[in-house]
Symmetry: C2
Subunit: 119 residues, 2 copies
DNA sequence: CTTCGATATGTATCACAGGACATATCGATA
DNA sequence: TATCGATATGTCCTGTGATACATATCGAAG
């Protein structure tokens, strides 16, 4: 697991409709699935239960046309999960959004930080 | 109450430290307090309990130096609440962040919207 | 000195999201 | 056909946070 910087940052939650939304949780899971090739392994990596991970995958596959995660049953080195082309696309787009948004609000982020009291 | 556009948008949650964060909920309350001059009225306007509103105010006053909301006890047209200069400042900065962030990710927002399935 | 409307704060209850646990099924391999 | 590890899905239970309710205090006004 890569450790995130403990810097002030803006987290992004994209509200696409009154039903579909995308935030750091789902996107992180998406990334972990891409890395591990398994919903279960991705869940373990992020410290979430398999059920929660699977629920998030289900939601994403429901909301996005064609689905973002493809799954194959069966154990050993055969079964598993992988990102669909759409899944890789969404991941890439979201990361780009995140980066751009953070860049564009850097100055305001500093201003707010300066207004904090003693921790 | 002004009706928000039902357009895809990016909501912002600013994480300033491991203790202090600022999201749409607190900022909306801040704005409503500025408009109504009362925590109770702001809470009613946003459909939240007085206790919840007051807890959020308490958290903001704890996290930000000097506090964001000043209060005066006493009823009738004497008592009430108002934004401190810092409070008005935070509100303004956050709204600016929101606007900038949304502008800067417009293209990606459209791309994601186009990938949704049928609602 | 009572009333009114607001802040300020505590307690008890309750809904619900989430986790723990249990199973079913699948596909390859041996 | 037994085993293994993964997806897939259901049920029960608990912890937590919100809500409802209660109360205290304040300050002006009448």
């Amino acid at each position: 697991m890569q450790e995130e910087h403990k810097m002030p940052r803006a987290r992004l939650r994209v509200v696409l409709s009154d039903k579909a939304a995308l935030g750091p949780g789902k996107v992180g899971l998406l990334e972990a699935i891409g890395e591990t090739g398994s919903i279960a392994a991705a869940g373990r990596k992020l410290g979430m239960s398999y059920k929660r991970a699977w629920n998030l995958v289900e939601a994403m596959n429901r909301d996005f046309a064609g689905g973002l995660v493809g799954t194959t049953r069966g154990g050993r080195d055969f079964g598993g999960a992988e990102l669909t082309p759409a899944g890789r696309n969404v991941l890439e787009i979201y990361r780009a959004m995140e980066a751009r948004a953070n860049e564009s609000v850097q100055s305001e982020l500093q201003l707010l930080s300066a207004m904090l009291g003693e921790p």
